[in-house]
């Protein structure tokens, strides 16, 4: 086995380790009564944001395309899963119903991903970004105008089956699938495409189908996150899935480090908790995100900036624990 695989594996294990340790800490806090009700109420949202960020990172960080319709897929999944749960509430026990709802939500979102993806993915860059944004907005308007979705008033009656443990399990599954995928032949093809489309095609990579695959996988997990979301609140309205929501997920991905799964996870945790923890912060939250986006991009694009970032280890918030050897190795060969 090559050094690379060992490193990739080690890296993944560290990420799992961080997530599991954090879960254990929270579980102990909840069990011993150290966690307030308020704290407990944001645990599921943390899980939802992790799933959203990790799945968006697959598209932004590994495929290298910007999708601004992630919230749209989330809403499709949420409505599909919640409607299923509402109609089967009396027939199925929660232990069967909820996982099924999540699978249905994910699959429906993935189907939408295919439907939107096939025509749209011929585009790339700015065009793709704006079209995914448009697709998300179309989904939102249509949901508001449909009868069975509860329209603008929202969908009521979803059983509130979400809890932290389920959220945690779904986070682990998401991590497992996406991290394994990224390290496989298929993940390599997607990264190759990101780095050089023409060369990837010349190596036998079918650009369109891989682009679609990454896009649809992202949509699937966004849908699952949506189901989790729908089962966490008593009412589901389409307006929470507007493109601002998509951009919020993007902020998490960018701050965590584009292409860093661990970074996305840690960034999702911090960004979900911060406004809750610091009341004063909430007012300036979006302003600070905006500045952070710009500063991150500016720093990332200059030699000096990258130096500062790697010194701060801010590029991926999670790289505090990253093994330094990998970086040195790469630099060592730089002549």
């Amino acid at each position: 086995m090559g050094l690379n695989e060992i490193k990739a594996k080690k890296n993944d294990l560290i990420t799992y380790g961080i997530v599991i340790i954090l879960f254990a800490i929270v579980a102990v806090m909840v069990a011993t009564g150290m966690a307030t009700r308020h704290m407990q109420s944001i645990l599921v949202p943390v899980c939802i944001n992790i799933i959203l960020a990790v799945s968006l990172n697959l598209v932004v960080g590994f495929l290298g395309e910007l999708s601004l319709g992630h919230a749209g897929f989330m809403s499709v999944g949420a409505y599909a899963g919640c409607l299923f749960a509402i109609y089967t509430a009396d027939i199925l026990p929660a232990a069967v119903r909820f996982p099924l709802a999540m699978i249905i939500g994910g699959v429906v979102a993935a189907v939408f991903g295919v439907l939107i993806g096939i025509p749209v993915l011929r585009l790339s860059g700015d065009y793709l970004a704006i079209v995914t944004l448009a697709a998300g907005e179309i989904i939102r308007s249509v949901i508001i105008n449909l009868g069975f979705t509860g329209g603008a008033a929202g969908l009521k009656g979803t059983p509130q089956d979400s809890n932290f443990i389920i959220g945690f399990v779904v986070v682990l599954i998401t991590m497992f699938v996406i991290m394994n995928f990224v390290n496989s032949k298929h993940g390599r093809a997607i990264k190759a495409m990101r780095d050089n489309k023409i060369a990837a095609e010349s190596c036998g990579v079918n650009l369109n189908s891989y682009k679609l695959l990454a896009f649809v996988m992202g949509a699937f997990f966004a849908g699952v996150a949506g189901v989790l979301y729908g089962h966490n609140y008593s009412i589901l309205t389409a307006d929470v899935f507007d493109y601002n929501r998509s951009i919020e997920i993007l902020v998490i991905v960018v701050l965590g480090g584009i292409g860093s799964i661990r970074g996305s996870i840690i960034s999702a945790i911090i960004i979900t908790i911060l406004p809750e923890a610091l009341r004063g912060f909430a007012d300036y939250r979006m302003l600070i995100y905006a500045i952070a986006l710009i500063v991150m991009m500016l720093l990332n694009s200059s030699e000096k900036g990258r130096e500062i970032l790697s010194k701060l280890n801010f590029r991926s918030l999670g790289s505090l624990l990253k093994n330094r050897g990998a970086k040195k190795e790469v630099q060592g060969n730089d002549e």
Binding site: L66, D126, V131, V142, I198, D283, A290, I291
Partner: protein, 291 residues
């Protein structure tokens, strides 16, 4: 007659889109970037009017000039600070930065003006125009007329002046233009300046037409104007104009005859259709990567 008045209100809305789309298309053509924050410049322009007239009590013409100056400066400064360092970066980086700038402007406005919509002072004291049964609001007439004048002036500027020629050269090939003694930096700044000034004008018309302005006012028309620019073929000035007008009419007619709530969905769906059928838009050119 209903249809005609819907058509006219569509054209008036479309003129606003066209004004914004002109800025998008020029910036896209020359700096090769989607300036996501362009729509928010409209909001800044409109707020400048509100502050100068309602708060400071300045005369309308001073307020108009202030608004244009404010937006122009903002556009140029944004380019210098946020976009210029990224000129050699990947499109993804630039786009994320532009989204950041858009959010920054929105949230600054939110902090300064609060989230409630502010009423826009009436600045065009023009009575409605009646032609037979048909009545057109004064704003509509002015908007349409000014947009057409601006488009003609802009076309002349781009095609007849030295600076316009420099713009076209930079949009074709930055390096070659630089070697020919054209200052790429100045040309890009000028492009942003013109685009932002047009956004200010669009902001004024938007405020006058709808009467209220909030921190997020600019984002939807901004996105739709980008759709308009894509419609017409990105990089093409007459294209932006035609795209804007078409989109305005499409939106107005679908509001009138299909559904108010679904009109945005229809506008966006038409974008997807256009990109599928003719990805280069009505008047755009194909650009292929050299292998």
């Amino acid at each position: 007659m209903d249809f005609l008045s819907n058509l006219i209100s569509g054209l008036s809305l479309g003129s606003i889109y066209a004004l914004i789309a002109l800025g998008y298309t020029m910036v896209y053509g020359i700096a090769k970037m989607l300036n996501f924050a362009h729509g928010d410049i409209i909001m800044v322009g409109a707020f400048t009017i509100i502050v100068s007239i309602s708060t400071c009590g300045l005369p309308v013409w001073v307020a108009l000039i202030l608004s244009v100056v404010m937006c122009t400066v903002l556009g140029v400064v944004t380019e210098r600070v946020a976009y210029k360092p990224l000129r050699k970066s990947e499109p993804l980086t630039v786009l994320i930065t532009a989204i950041g700038v858009s959010y920054l402007l929105q949230n600054l406005a939110l902090l300064i003006f609060g989230s409630s919509q502010k009423s826009f002072p009436s600045i065009f004291d023009i009575s409605s125009v009646h032609i037979g049964d048909l009545s057109m609001s004064g704003e509509s007439v002015v908007t349409l007329a000014v947009t057409i004048i601006i488009m003609i002036a802009l076309s002349l500027f781009i095609n007849k002046t030295r600076a316009g020629k420099a713009m076209r050269a930079v949009s074709e090939d930055k390096e070659a233009a630089e070697l020919m003694g054209i200052s790429v930096n100045k040309t890009i700044s000028l492009t942003f300046a013109i685009g932002s000034a047009l956004a200010a004008v669009a902001g004024v018309f938007y405020g006058a037409t709808y009467g209220f302005i909030g921190p997020y006012t600019g984002s939807m028309p901004g996105i739709k104007a980008f759709v308009a620019a894509v419609f017409g073929g990105i990089g093409s000035i007459p294209g932006a104009m035609i795209g804007g007008l078409l989109l305005g009419v499409l939106e107005s007619l679908s509001k009138a005859y299909i559904s108010t709530e679904l009109s945005d969905a229809i506008v966006f769906a038409s974008l997807i259709v256009v990109l599928l059928v003719k990805p280069t838009g009505l008047l755009g050119k194909v650009i292929k990567e050299k292998v």
